[in-house]
Amino acid sequence: MFKPSALSDWTLFILFSAAILTMPIWLAPLGANYPDLMQKFAIFGIFAIGFNILFGLTGYLSFGHAAFLGVGSYTAVWSFKLLTMNVIPALIFSVIMAGVFALVIGFVSLRRSGIYFSILTLAFAQMSFNLAYSVLTPITNGESGLQLTLRDPRVLDAAAGVAVGRSLPSTNLFGLKMSGLPGFYICAVMLIIAFFLSMRIFRSPFGMMLKAIKSNQTRMAYTGFNTRPYLLAAFVISGMYAGLAGSLMAVTDPLAGAERMQWTASGEVVLMTILGGAGTLIGPVLGSAIIKYAENIFSAFNTSELRQIFDFMPDGLQQVSVAVSSMFVGEAWHFTLGLTFMIVVIFLPGGIMEGFRRIGGLFRRSDAKAGKVESSAAAAHS
């Protein structure tokens, strides 16, 4: 738990960073190495890591985390509009704003637990969503979404003497344009930082306390803790992660729409976390990458492509095959998503990481007849 795991933590971290940074290389054979998609991997990875700090460690299921994502996006776009196209202020302000929102919503929602907590977070997120569409239109620009315009003041840029061109300026990091690969790399760096912080939280006394709350909250109270500050801290941290993810969305594409706050978006991050394995370090990143990759693959198909694929079949069979497979792809890809969701929850409640562990367990069992206690101790470490 101490010395040995500290070492393996560093190994894990270095491996993780290397894998993320070399994504453009090793994703090439999969045809997934274009920046748009890799940006999504990183952004949703951050979102899921943050969600996991709350759900994975404390067991509190929030159904309203998309609200913080939306807040992050809006804040970032406003920073681009009012201050500068440089991404640094946008990132900082977004995280702070999302944190403030999370503090308020968390303070109220955490007065209840279980399903009541879920409903409260859902209610807050839906309120934010509905308001963003209606009354808050001056801030959110309603249905059309908040966009950059040529008339934006951008006071810092103006002060620095950045010339206003005839086309919309692009987001940048001290001049480096945040589109394409550079855009991916800023997301990647943020993901690595997010992962590192999450690892530190998991391995800190704070993380242990959160796990203890999940394990037996009543006992925590009799142990001399006021559990609410811990839960609130976890909630705010995970809200800030969502804010960071939201602002990165705006960095790679300076547009913010209210649909980002809808509860289906909250559901998506829940699925990512569960699919990868709630409460594990790597799981949420893995889950979000798999879902975004699958979305990319599945939703790209259309009927004519399907016909081509099943061209070798006799006519009748081809039609049936196309009809059946079109249930899963294209616009109907959500069907596949829902089905995956069910299969994971039914058969693999621990997610993909649990699957790995089980496979690993098969090998381990064969080479040593470890007692129940010892093998589970090993599981606790992996």
Partner: protein
């Protein structure tokens, strides 16, 4: 005064839909202990029973249009109307209420399959797992419907006889300012009937007695040697019928689309929580209450004072109720309190 009455009436039909969905949700939650996020999908499936029946009844054929005399013109006419000109059109006209007859067996069957095939295995799993798996199921059902019926809403008509509006004000001698569509009145009455029937069933039958006992204390009922499992299945199927019928009758009010289930589910959940988890009366009360509140919040006068209130009122009320009354309006002690 008239305006207030009108708003109450306006809120009642939406409230009735909330109440019917929330009733089933609570029934399932109270007895089976399962949080069913796919319950909204059942409401939507009911609505699509009506759509399906209407499509079946209006399968058309081309017949010669006699009104055109100078060349041979053809028009599409439902086979039913062409073959049976006397009662065919009446059947087509009444397709929505007739769909009730179809929806009852269909929803019963769907409920049975769902409980046997999926829900049963989640009795003992954490609530989070229940939420997640039924959430997945809801998406699956929704996509199947979208795949088969398309993404656009499909308007359904109320029978011609009740297509107009009722001058409700005149009935009570309050002038002609309170007019209300007949169909919404019928929906309200229908909802009352279903709710009343459900309560009567639970109150006056031995089956209902066992179910109520199960809602109080599941383990004890099991210990009494009653096969609670079978009754759970029936309860679930009944809840599914409730939601389905609510959906069938709602189609002339809101053209059904594939995501209407989710839209209503989120609100119905809020309704259940406000009413108090596990309280049937609470679910019905909160359903009507929130429907009416929403209707008031949509008044221009109210929106002028608090802009946007119509968008958030239900959620706002839910937050306040949960913070002030942790168990909701009529919730019992010990439900969902870990």
């Amino acid at each position: 005064m008239d305006a207030i009455l009108l708003q109450i009436l306006n809120g009642l039909d939406k409230g009735a839909a909330y109440a019917l969905i929330a009733l089933g949700l609570t029934l399932v939650f109270g007895t089976l202990g399962v949080v069913n996020f796919a319950h909204g999908a059942l409401f939507m499936l009911g609505a699509f029973c009506a759509v399906t029946l209407n499509r079946l009844l209006t399968i058309s054929t081309k017949i010669k249009d006699e009104s055109v005399t100078f060349f041979d013109a053809y028009k599409e006419v439902p086979i039913l109307e062409a073959k049976f000109p006397t009662w065919g059109p009446v059947i087509v006209d009444y397709s929505v209420p007739l769909a009730i007859l179809i929806a009852i067996p269909v929803m019963l069957l769907i409920g049975l399959i769902m409980e046997r095939g999926l829900i049963r295995h989640f009795y003992k799993r954490p609530h989070a797992d229940q939420i997640l798996v039924t959430f997945g199921l809801a998406i699956v059902i929704q996509e199947v419907i979208k795949h088969s019926f398309g993404a656009n809403p499909i308007p359904q008509l109320a029978p011609d006889g009740v297509a107009g509006s009722a001058n409700v004000g005149a009935w009570f001698g309050m002038g002609d300012n309170i007019v209300y569509p007949w169909w919404r009145l019928i929906y309200l009455g229908f909802a009352m009937l279903i709710i009343g029937a459900t309560f009567a069933f639970l109150k006056f039958t031995t089956f209902g007695m066992v179910v109520r006992a199960g809602m109080q204390d599941r383990e004890t009922v099991g210990l009494l040697g009653i096969d609670i499992q079978k009754r759970f299945t029936i309860v679930f199927a009944l809840a599914s019928v409730c939601a389905g019928l609510a959906g069938v009758m709602y189609t002339p009010i809101l053209p059904p689309n594939y995501h209407m289930g989710m839209d209503f589910l989120v609100l119905s959940f809020v309704v259940v929580v406000v009413g108090g988890m596990g309280s049937l009366g609470g679910a019905v009360l909160a359903g009507f209450l929130l429907g009416i509140l929403q209707s008031f919040a949509s008044m221009t006068e109210v929106k002028a004072i608090i802009p946007g209130i119509d968008q958030i009122i239900i959620y706002f009320v839910a937050v306040v109720v949960l913070l002030v009354l942790p168990r909701g309006l009529l919730g019992r002690k010990g439900v969902m309190e870990d």
